[in-house]
Symmetry: C2
Subunit: 139 residues, 2 copies
Amino acid sequence: MSAYEVIEMGGLDAWHEFAGGTTPGKRFVDKELPLQNVGMSANAAEPGSRAPFWHTHEKLEELYVFLAGNGQMGLNDDVVDVQAGTTVRVPPGTWSTWRALPDSPEQLRWLCIRAGGAALSDIGRDGALDRERPAPWAE
Amino acid sequence: MSAYEVIEMGGLDAWHEFAGGTTPGKRFVDKELPLQNVGMSANAAEPGSRAPFWHTHEKLEELYVFLAGNGQMGLNDDVVDVQAGTTVRVPPGTWSTWRALPDSPEQLRWLCIRAGGAALSDIGRDGALDRERPAPWAE
């Protein structure tokens, strides 16, 4: 395993070009990078479009981060309005779906992040800092 | 635990107002939502600013998703240019740091996502779909 990997997805305005996944406008980043613990898709949906299904997870927690456009999420029996900055935790067992509002001024764009198994609180503090190491760029 | 939780962070242009964490412009979403498995911070850094340290994790995998501005990441001995759409996997054991370029036309803005413990491949397929359940909004 190398020390890091990089892909370029382009700015939000380019996300409509995503066409590699099962759905146009959906890019499974965890299929392009060798991610072990974090799963993520980047999504762009035309105004008026909607998910073709509801879905839930048995074990994975999901975090939706909306970045542009106007839409709604169905969350069990509730409907929640979403826009740039709306960030929704969907725990295991919750059913969800989404749509981009027909009058959204632009595509609905969001990241859907998922992980499971080990709680962050069980992992605890595993980080280390180095305040003395020089900057890697010329300044 | 409730079935979901929502916060509003505002659009990217509002992220400079984040001031609740240890660093202005950094918002630890996992301290606001009861996230169990996904950790995430939302970040906005002025042109010319830089992380005050290098850091690494023993167990957690990190995923950086840059959304605006121009910057660089230090990754062990390498320097990688970052811009909107640059997405970087940082595995456990890799040292990293960042800066916003002095001539960046806007703040560098990014999400830093982290998770660890159980590999997604070990969790396997835990999802379920319902293609028959009606939409939760009037159409």
